[in-house]
Subunit: 211 residues, 2 copies
DNA sequence: TAAATATTGACCACAGTGGTCTACATGTGT
DNA sequence: ACACATGTAGACCACTGTGGTCAATATTTA
Protein backbone atom coordinates (compact mmCIF):
# COMPACT_ATOMS: atom_id res chain seq x y z
CA UNK A 1 0.00 0.00 0.00
CA UNK A 2 2.54 2.60 1.13
CA UNK A 3 5.76 0.89 0.12
CA UNK A 4 7.23 4.06 -1.34
CA UNK A 5 6.57 5.95 1.86
CA UNK A 6 7.94 3.22 4.12
CA UNK A 7 11.16 3.04 2.11
CA UNK A 8 11.80 6.71 2.78
CA UNK A 9 14.67 8.01 4.90
CA UNK A 10 13.29 7.85 8.42
CA UNK A 11 13.94 11.52 9.18
CA UNK A 12 11.93 12.62 6.20
CA UNK A 13 9.23 10.12 7.01
CA UNK A 14 9.01 11.47 10.53
CA UNK A 15 8.83 15.05 9.34
CA UNK A 16 5.89 14.26 7.08
CA UNK A 17 4.12 12.26 9.77
CA UNK A 18 4.56 14.98 12.37
CA UNK A 19 3.36 17.71 10.03
CA UNK A 20 0.29 15.64 9.21
CA UNK A 21 -0.40 14.73 12.84
CA UNK A 22 -0.22 18.35 13.85
CA UNK A 23 -2.61 19.40 11.10
CA UNK A 24 -5.15 16.71 11.93
CA UNK A 25 -4.90 17.52 15.64
CA UNK A 26 -5.65 21.17 14.96
CA UNK A 27 -8.45 20.77 12.43
CA UNK A 28 -11.03 18.06 11.86
CA UNK A 29 -10.66 15.89 8.79
CA UNK A 30 -12.71 18.10 6.50
CA UNK A 31 -10.89 21.31 7.37
CA UNK A 32 -7.37 19.93 7.57
CA UNK A 33 -5.32 21.17 4.63
CA UNK A 34 -2.94 19.05 2.60
CA UNK A 35 -1.32 22.29 1.43
CA UNK A 36 -0.32 23.18 4.97
CA UNK A 37 0.90 19.65 5.57
CA UNK A 38 3.29 19.66 2.60
CA UNK A 39 4.48 23.15 3.48
CA UNK A 40 5.28 22.18 7.07
CA UNK A 41 6.79 18.88 5.97
CA UNK A 42 9.01 20.68 3.45
CA UNK A 43 7.97 18.57 0.48
CA UNK A 44 6.22 19.29 -2.80
CA UNK A 45 2.51 18.78 -3.08
CA UNK A 46 2.92 15.96 -5.57
CA UNK A 47 4.93 13.78 -3.20
CA UNK A 48 2.16 13.51 -0.65
CA UNK A 49 -0.13 11.99 -3.26
CA UNK A 50 2.73 9.88 -4.56
CA UNK A 51 3.02 8.29 -1.10
CA UNK A 52 -0.68 8.29 -0.22
CA UNK A 53 -3.67 7.84 -2.49
CA UNK A 54 -5.75 10.54 -0.88
CA UNK A 55 -6.20 12.71 2.18
CA UNK A 56 -8.41 10.00 3.70
CA UNK A 57 -5.73 7.38 3.03
CA UNK A 58 -3.18 9.51 4.87
CA UNK A 59 -5.56 9.99 7.78
CA UNK A 60 -6.20 6.27 8.09
CA UNK A 61 -2.48 5.57 7.92
CA UNK A 62 -1.90 8.00 10.78
CA UNK A 63 -4.51 6.41 13.01
CA UNK A 64 -2.90 2.99 12.65
CA UNK A 65 0.57 4.46 13.00
CA UNK A 66 -0.26 6.11 16.32
CA UNK A 67 -2.19 3.22 17.78
CA UNK A 68 0.55 0.74 16.91
CA UNK A 69 3.21 3.04 18.27
CA UNK A 70 1.40 3.65 21.55
CA UNK A 71 0.67 -0.02 21.85
CA UNK A 72 4.25 -1.19 21.31
CA UNK A 73 5.77 1.51 23.50
CA UNK A 74 3.29 1.86 26.33
CA UNK A 75 1.95 -1.55 27.19
CA UNK A 76 5.24 -3.21 28.11
CA UNK A 77 6.43 -0.17 30.05
CA UNK A 78 3.15 0.09 31.89
CA UNK A 79 3.28 -3.61 32.69
CA UNK A 80 6.67 -3.47 34.41
CA UNK A 81 5.92 -0.16 36.16
CA UNK A 82 2.69 -1.49 37.60
CA UNK A 83 4.36 -4.71 38.64
CA UNK A 84 6.76 -2.68 40.76
CA UNK A 85 3.88 -0.85 42.38
CA UNK A 86 2.35 -4.20 43.39
CA UNK A 87 -1.17 -3.95 44.81
CA UNK A 88 -0.81 -0.33 45.92
CA UNK A 89 -3.33 1.57 43.79
CA UNK A 90 -1.98 4.99 44.66
CA UNK A 91 1.50 3.94 43.53
CA UNK A 92 0.05 2.31 40.44
CA UNK A 93 -1.78 5.45 39.41
CA UNK A 94 1.28 7.55 40.13
CA UNK A 95 3.56 5.54 37.83
CA UNK A 96 0.84 5.50 35.18
CA UNK A 97 0.47 9.27 35.30
CA UNK A 98 4.23 9.67 35.17
CA UNK A 99 4.52 7.41 32.13
CA UNK A 100 1.78 9.35 30.43
CA UNK A 101 3.53 12.64 31.13
CA UNK A 102 6.83 11.34 29.84
CA UNK A 103 5.22 10.07 26.67
CA UNK A 104 3.54 13.39 26.12
CA UNK A 105 6.94 15.03 26.36
CA UNK A 106 8.54 12.59 23.94
CA UNK A 107 5.87 12.32 21.30
CA UNK A 108 3.55 15.29 21.66
CA UNK A 109 2.24 14.99 18.11
CA UNK A 110 1.18 11.38 18.54
CA UNK A 111 -0.30 12.21 21.90
CA UNK A 112 -2.28 15.22 20.71
CA UNK A 113 -3.53 13.40 17.65
CA UNK A 114 -4.83 10.53 19.75
CA UNK A 115 -6.45 12.98 22.17
CA UNK A 116 -8.31 14.70 19.37
CA UNK A 117 -9.24 11.31 17.88
CA UNK A 118 -11.03 10.02 20.95
CA UNK A 119 -12.86 13.33 21.41
CA UNK A 120 -14.65 12.70 18.12
CA UNK A 121 -17.73 10.59 17.73
CA UNK A 122 -16.41 7.11 18.33
CA UNK A 123 -18.99 5.54 16.01
CA UNK A 124 -17.62 7.42 13.00
CA UNK A 125 -14.24 5.72 13.20
CA UNK A 126 -13.52 2.67 11.04
CA UNK A 127 -14.23 -0.64 12.71
CA UNK A 128 -10.64 -1.82 12.91
CA UNK A 129 -9.64 1.43 14.58
CA UNK A 130 -12.49 1.13 17.07
CA UNK A 131 -11.33 -2.37 17.89
CA UNK A 132 -7.72 -1.34 18.40
CA UNK A 133 -8.77 1.52 20.69
CA UNK A 134 -10.99 -0.80 22.71
CA UNK A 135 -8.26 -3.39 23.11
CA UNK A 136 -5.80 -0.75 24.26
CA UNK A 137 -8.19 0.77 26.78
CA UNK A 138 -9.16 -2.66 28.08
CA UNK A 139 -5.53 -3.67 28.56
CA UNK A 140 -4.66 -0.46 30.37
CA UNK A 141 -7.73 -0.82 32.57
CA UNK A 142 -6.89 -4.41 33.44
CA UNK A 143 -3.33 -3.57 34.32
CA UNK A 144 -4.44 -0.72 36.57
CA UNK A 145 -7.31 -2.38 38.37
CA UNK A 146 -6.51 -6.09 38.52
CA UNK A 147 -5.42 -7.49 41.89
CA UNK A 148 -5.49 -4.25 43.82
CA UNK A 149 -4.81 -4.71 47.51
CA UNK A 150 -7.95 -3.20 48.98
CA UNK A 151 -6.83 -4.06 52.50
CA UNK A 152 -4.52 -1.08 52.31
CA UNK A 153 -7.54 1.21 52.56
CA UNK A 154 -9.10 2.16 55.87
CA UNK A 155 -11.83 -0.24 56.88
CA UNK A 156 -14.59 2.28 57.32
CA UNK A 157 -14.55 3.76 53.82
CA UNK A 158 -16.09 2.65 50.53
CA UNK A 159 -12.99 1.50 48.70
CA UNK A 160 -14.56 1.73 45.24
CA UNK A 161 -15.31 5.38 45.80
CA UNK A 162 -11.88 5.87 47.31
CA UNK A 163 -10.28 4.49 44.13
CA UNK A 164 -12.14 7.08 42.08
CA UNK A 165 -11.21 9.90 44.41
CA UNK A 166 -7.55 8.95 44.23
CA UNK A 167 -7.76 8.80 40.45
CA UNK A 168 -9.43 12.18 40.15
CA UNK A 169 -6.97 13.73 42.61
CA UNK A 170 -3.95 12.62 40.64
CA UNK A 171 -5.55 13.48 37.30
CA UNK A 172 -6.19 16.94 38.69
CA UNK A 173 -2.62 17.45 39.76
CA UNK A 174 -1.38 16.23 36.42
CA UNK A 175 -3.62 18.60 34.51
CA UNK A 176 -2.46 21.51 36.64
CA UNK A 177 1.13 20.49 36.02
CA UNK A 178 0.57 20.43 32.26
CA UNK A 179 -0.97 23.88 32.39
CA UNK A 180 1.98 25.22 34.38
CA UNK A 181 4.51 23.71 32.00
CA UNK A 182 2.82 25.30 29.01
CA UNK A 183 3.57 28.72 30.41
CA UNK A 184 7.24 28.39 31.21
CA UNK A 185 10.20 26.78 29.51
CA UNK A 186 10.53 23.19 30.59
CA UNK A 187 13.64 23.07 32.72
CA UNK A 188 14.46 19.67 34.12
CA UNK A 189 15.23 21.21 37.52
CA UNK A 190 11.70 22.55 37.71
CA UNK A 191 10.49 19.20 36.54
CA UNK A 192 12.18 17.45 39.44
CA UNK A 193 10.57 19.96 41.78
CA UNK A 194 7.18 19.10 40.39
CA UNK A 195 7.66 15.38 40.74
CA UNK A 196 8.80 15.89 44.32
CA UNK A 197 5.65 17.87 45.00
CA UNK A 198 3.67 15.11 43.32
CA UNK A 199 5.19 12.69 45.77
CA UNK A 200 4.09 14.84 48.70
CA UNK A 201 0.55 14.75 47.42
CA UNK A 202 0.93 11.00 47.10
CA UNK A 203 1.92 10.70 50.75
CA UNK A 204 -1.00 12.85 51.80
CA UNK A 205 -3.36 10.63 49.84
CA UNK A 206 -1.91 7.56 51.49
CA UNK A 207 -2.24 9.14 54.90
CA UNK A 208 -5.92 9.90 54.48
CA UNK A 209 -7.08 6.84 52.55
CA UNK A 210 -4.79 4.08 53.79
CA UNK A 211 -4.80 2.66 57.28
CA UNK B 1 -23.40 50.66 17.89
CA UNK B 2 -25.87 47.79 17.57
CA UNK B 3 -29.15 49.62 18.14
CA UNK B 4 -30.85 47.83 15.29
CA UNK B 5 -29.89 44.46 16.70
CA UNK B 6 -30.88 45.31 20.26
CA UNK B 7 -34.31 46.48 19.12
CA UNK B 8 -34.98 43.07 17.62
CA UNK B 9 -37.61 40.68 18.90
CA UNK B 10 -35.81 38.83 21.67
CA UNK B 11 -36.48 35.36 20.27
CA UNK B 12 -34.91 36.28 16.97
CA UNK B 13 -32.03 37.96 18.76
CA UNK B 14 -31.42 34.84 20.79
CA UNK B 15 -31.52 32.61 17.74
CA UNK B 16 -28.85 34.69 16.02
CA UNK B 17 -26.70 34.84 19.14
CA UNK B 18 -26.90 31.11 19.71
CA UNK B 19 -26.09 30.30 16.11
CA UNK B 20 -23.08 32.59 16.27
CA UNK B 21 -21.90 31.28 19.64
CA UNK B 22 -22.09 27.73 18.38
CA UNK B 23 -20.11 28.57 15.26
CA UNK B 24 -17.38 30.40 17.17
CA UNK B 25 -17.20 27.58 19.73
CA UNK B 26 -16.65 25.04 16.98
CA UNK B 27 -14.20 26.95 14.81
CA UNK B 28 -11.62 29.60 15.60
CA UNK B 29 -12.29 33.12 14.43
CA UNK B 30 -10.63 32.74 11.05
CA UNK B 31 -12.42 29.54 10.12
CA UNK B 32 -15.83 30.39 11.52
CA UNK B 33 -18.28 30.98 8.68
CA UNK B 34 -20.82 33.78 8.56
CA UNK B 35 -22.69 31.74 5.94
CA UNK B 36 -23.26 28.92 8.40
CA UNK B 37 -24.29 31.41 11.08
CA UNK B 38 -27.02 33.00 8.97
CA UNK B 39 -28.20 29.59 7.80
CA UNK B 40 -28.50 28.28 11.37
CA UNK B 41 -30.04 31.54 12.57
CA UNK B 42 -32.60 31.43 9.77
CA UNK B 43 -31.88 34.91 8.46
CA UNK B 44 -30.56 36.31 5.20
CA UNK B 45 -26.90 37.08 4.82
CA UNK B 46 -27.55 40.78 4.45
CA UNK B 47 -29.16 41.07 7.87
CA UNK B 48 -26.10 39.94 9.76
CA UNK B 49 -24.10 42.78 8.24
CA UNK B 50 -27.02 45.13 8.79
CA UNK B 51 -26.82 44.42 12.53
CA UNK B 52 -23.04 44.08 12.77
CA UNK B 53 -20.34 45.87 10.83
CA UNK B 54 -18.18 42.82 10.32
CA UNK B 55 -17.44 39.31 11.48
CA UNK B 56 -14.96 40.74 14.01
CA UNK B 57 -17.58 43.15 15.30
CA UNK B 58 -19.97 40.26 15.88
CA UNK B 59 -17.26 38.28 17.66
CA UNK B 60 -16.45 41.17 19.97
CA UNK B 61 -20.14 41.69 20.70
CA UNK B 62 -20.45 38.03 21.67
CA UNK B 63 -17.51 38.16 24.07
CA UNK B 64 -19.04 41.08 25.94
CA UNK B 65 -22.48 39.52 25.81
CA UNK B 66 -21.30 36.30 27.43
CA UNK B 67 -19.11 37.92 30.04
CA UNK B 68 -21.85 40.33 31.11
CA UNK B 69 -24.38 37.53 31.21
CA UNK B 70 -22.21 35.25 33.27
CA UNK B 71 -21.31 38.10 35.56
CA UNK B 72 -24.88 39.20 36.23
CA UNK B 73 -26.20 35.67 36.64
CA UNK B 74 -23.40 33.88 38.40
CA UNK B 75 -21.84 36.23 40.90
CA UNK B 76 -24.91 36.90 43.02
CA UNK B 77 -25.97 33.25 42.99
CA UNK B 78 -22.49 32.13 43.90
CA UNK B 79 -22.38 34.67 46.70
CA UNK B 80 -25.50 33.42 48.45
CA UNK B 81 -24.66 29.75 47.84
CA UNK B 82 -21.25 30.15 49.38
CA UNK B 83 -22.64 32.12 52.30
CA UNK B 84 -24.83 29.12 53.13
CA UNK B 85 -21.81 26.82 53.02
CA UNK B 86 -20.04 29.02 55.57
CA UNK B 87 -16.37 28.14 56.11
CA UNK B 88 -16.73 24.56 54.97
CA UNK B 89 -14.59 24.33 51.84
CA UNK B 90 -15.96 20.98 50.72
CA UNK B 91 -19.50 22.33 50.88
CA UNK B 92 -18.39 25.51 49.14
CA UNK B 93 -16.85 23.63 46.27
CA UNK B 94 -19.86 21.37 46.02
CA UNK B 95 -22.32 24.23 45.61
CA UNK B 96 -19.98 25.91 43.15
CA UNK B 97 -19.73 22.78 41.04
CA UNK B 98 -23.48 22.37 41.16
CA UNK B 99 -24.09 25.96 40.06
CA UNK B 100 -21.66 25.47 37.23
CA UNK B 101 -23.42 22.30 36.11
CA UNK B 102 -26.81 23.95 36.23
CA UNK B 103 -25.57 26.89 34.20
CA UNK B 104 -24.09 24.55 31.63
CA UNK B 105 -27.49 22.93 31.29
CA UNK B 106 -29.31 26.25 30.96
CA UNK B 107 -26.99 28.10 28.63
CA UNK B 108 -24.74 25.57 26.92
CA UNK B 109 -23.86 27.92 24.07
CA UNK B 110 -22.63 30.66 26.37
CA UNK B 111 -20.78 28.12 28.43
CA UNK B 112 -19.07 26.43 25.48
CA UNK B 113 -18.15 29.74 23.90
CA UNK B 114 -16.49 30.93 27.10
CA UNK B 115 -14.67 27.61 27.44
CA UNK B 116 -13.22 27.90 23.95
CA UNK B 117 -12.38 31.57 24.59
CA UNK B 118 -10.17 30.93 27.59
CA UNK B 119 -8.42 28.06 25.82
CA UNK B 120 -7.04 30.55 23.31
CA UNK B 121 -3.95 32.62 23.83
CA UNK B 122 -5.07 35.06 26.48
CA UNK B 123 -2.75 37.79 25.18
CA UNK B 124 -4.56 37.93 21.84
CA UNK B 125 -7.82 39.04 23.41
CA UNK B 126 -8.71 42.75 23.51
CA UNK B 127 -7.67 44.52 26.69
CA UNK B 128 -11.16 45.20 27.98
CA UNK B 129 -12.06 41.55 27.58
CA UNK B 130 -8.91 40.48 29.40
CA UNK B 131 -9.83 42.81 32.23
CA UNK B 132 -13.38 41.51 32.50
CA UNK B 133 -12.14 37.92 32.56
CA UNK B 134 -9.60 38.75 35.25
CA UNK B 135 -12.17 40.51 37.41
CA UNK B 136 -14.55 37.59 37.11
CA UNK B 137 -11.92 35.00 37.97
CA UNK B 138 -10.67 37.08 40.89
CA UNK B 139 -14.16 37.47 42.30
CA UNK B 140 -14.92 33.78 42.02
CA UNK B 141 -11.57 32.94 43.60
CA UNK B 142 -12.15 35.32 46.49
CA UNK B 143 -15.61 33.97 47.19
CA UNK B 144 -14.34 30.41 47.19
CA UNK B 145 -11.19 30.84 49.24
CA UNK B 146 -11.81 33.75 51.60
CA UNK B 147 -12.41 32.89 55.27
CA UNK B 148 -12.21 29.15 54.94
CA UNK B 149 -12.40 27.36 58.27
CA UNK B 150 -9.17 25.41 58.18
CA UNK B 151 -9.78 24.04 61.68
CA UNK B 152 -12.22 21.61 60.09
CA UNK B 153 -9.29 19.73 58.59
CA UNK B 154 -7.36 17.12 60.51
CA UNK B 155 -4.42 18.63 62.34
CA UNK B 156 -1.73 16.42 60.91
CA UNK B 157 -2.30 17.23 57.23
CA UNK B 158 -1.14 20.08 55.03
CA UNK B 159 -4.41 21.96 54.59
CA UNK B 160 -3.30 23.83 51.47
CA UNK B 161 -2.63 20.54 49.74
CA UNK B 162 -5.85 19.15 51.09
CA UNK B 163 -7.78 22.03 49.53
CA UNK B 164 -6.31 21.18 46.15
CA UNK B 165 -7.04 17.49 46.53
CA UNK B 166 -10.65 18.22 47.39
CA UNK B 167 -10.93 20.54 44.42
CA UNK B 168 -9.44 18.00 42.01
CA UNK B 169 -11.62 15.23 43.41
CA UNK B 170 -14.82 17.15 42.86
CA UNK B 171 -13.70 18.43 39.46
CA UNK B 172 -13.01 14.82 38.49
CA UNK B 173 -16.44 13.66 39.53
CA UNK B 174 -18.06 16.54 37.69
CA UNK B 175 -16.16 15.78 34.49
CA UNK B 176 -17.16 12.14 34.68
CA UNK B 177 -20.76 13.16 35.22
CA UNK B 178 -20.68 15.42 32.16
CA UNK B 179 -19.27 12.61 30.06
CA UNK B 180 -21.97 10.23 31.26
CA UNK B 181 -24.75 12.72 30.55
CA UNK B 182 -23.51 13.23 27.02
CA UNK B 183 -24.19 9.59 26.25
CA UNK B 184 -27.73 9.24 27.56
CA UNK B 185 -30.82 11.39 27.48
CA UNK B 186 -30.89 13.68 30.47
CA UNK B 187 -33.69 12.42 32.66
CA UNK B 188 -34.20 14.36 35.86
CA UNK B 189 -34.57 11.12 37.79
CA UNK B 190 -31.11 10.07 36.74
CA UNK B 191 -29.91 13.52 37.58
CA UNK B 192 -31.14 13.21 41.14
CA UNK B 193 -29.35 9.89 41.38
CA UNK B 194 -26.14 11.54 40.33
CA UNK B 195 -26.42 14.34 42.83
CA UNK B 196 -27.11 11.82 45.56
CA UNK B 197 -23.99 9.94 44.58
CA UNK B 198 -22.13 13.25 44.55
CA UNK B 199 -23.23 13.73 48.12
CA UNK B 200 -21.87 10.34 49.09
CA UNK B 201 -18.51 11.31 47.68
CA UNK B 202 -18.77 14.54 49.63
CA UNK B 203 -19.27 12.65 52.87
CA UNK B 204 -16.34 10.40 52.11
CA UNK B 205 -14.15 13.44 51.49
CA UNK B 206 -15.25 14.95 54.79
CA UNK B 207 -14.57 11.69 56.58
CA UNK B 208 -11.00 11.47 55.34
CA UNK B 209 -9.96 15.14 55.39
CA UNK B 210 -11.98 16.57 58.30
CA UNK B 211 -11.46 15.72 61.93
C1' DT C 1 24.49 6.91 -21.59
C1' DA C 2 19.89 5.34 -21.16
C1' DA C 3 16.36 3.92 -18.49
C1' DA C 4 14.03 4.10 -14.13
C1' DT C 5 12.70 6.55 -10.33
C1' DA C 6 11.95 10.68 -7.27
C1' DT C 7 10.37 15.23 -7.01
C1' DT C 8 8.40 19.58 -7.98
C1' DG C 9 4.93 23.16 -8.27
C1' DA C 10 2.00 25.21 -11.81
C1' DC C 11 -2.39 24.11 -12.74
C1' DC C 12 -7.30 22.41 -12.58
C1' DA C 13 -12.28 22.79 -11.58
C1' DC C 14 -14.56 23.85 -7.79
C1' DA C 15 -16.17 25.11 -3.03
C1' DG C 16 -16.42 28.49 0.23
C1' DT C 17 -15.06 33.33 1.94
C1' DG C 18 -16.56 38.16 4.02
C1' DG C 19 -19.03 41.63 2.49
C1' DT C 20 -22.16 44.50 -0.84
C1' DC C 21 -26.12 46.00 -3.14
C1' DT C 22 -30.22 45.78 -5.59
C1' DA C 23 -34.82 44.59 -5.47
C1' DC C 24 -38.61 43.81 -2.89
C1' DA C 25 -41.66 43.44 1.45
C1' DT C 26 -43.57 45.60 5.26
C1' DG C 27 -44.92 49.19 8.08
C1' DT C 28 -46.08 54.07 9.31
C1' DG C 29 -47.96 58.53 9.20
C1' DT C 30 -50.98 61.39 6.54
C1' DA D 1 -54.74 56.16 -1.13
C1' DC D 2 -50.11 57.40 -1.20
C1' DA D 3 -45.20 58.35 -0.12
C1' DC D 4 -41.49 57.45 2.40
C1' DA D 5 -38.68 55.00 5.76
C1' DT D 6 -37.20 50.85 7.44
C1' DG D 7 -36.54 45.63 7.34
C1' DT D 8 -35.12 41.73 4.71
C1' DA D 9 -33.35 38.37 1.39
C1' DG D 10 -30.07 36.30 -1.37
C1' DA D 11 -27.73 36.80 -5.92
C1' DC D 12 -23.50 38.41 -6.65
C1' DC D 13 -18.49 39.91 -6.27
C1' DA D 14 -13.54 39.30 -6.20
C1' DC D 15 -10.80 36.38 -3.86
C1' DT D 16 -8.70 32.59 -1.21
C1' DG D 17 -8.04 28.01 -0.55
C1' DT D 18 -9.37 23.04 -1.82
C1' DG D 19 -7.85 17.95 -3.06
C1' DG D 20 -5.78 16.09 -6.62
C1' DT D 21 -3.17 15.78 -11.37
C1' DC D 22 0.49 15.90 -14.54
C1' DA D 23 4.07 17.37 -17.53
C1' DA D 24 8.53 18.77 -16.75
C1' DT D 25 12.74 18.04 -14.57
C1' DA D 26 16.27 16.34 -11.25
C1' DT D 27 18.48 12.30 -9.39
C1' DT D 28 19.75 7.60 -9.00
C1' DT D 29 20.73 3.24 -10.90
C1' DA D 30 22.65 -0.13 -14.24
Amino acid sequence: MHEKFEQLDSNKKLKIIEAALEEFSTYDFQHASTNRIVKNAGIGKGMLFYYFNSKKDLYTYLMHYCLDRIYSQMVSQLETAIQEAKGDFIERYYVTARLKSEYMGEEPHVFNFMSSLILQDFAELPNDIQQKVNTLQQQAYDLLYKDIDLSLFKNDIDSEKALNLVKWSLDGYQQELEQKLKGEQIISINLKEYWDEFYEYLNLLKKVYYQ
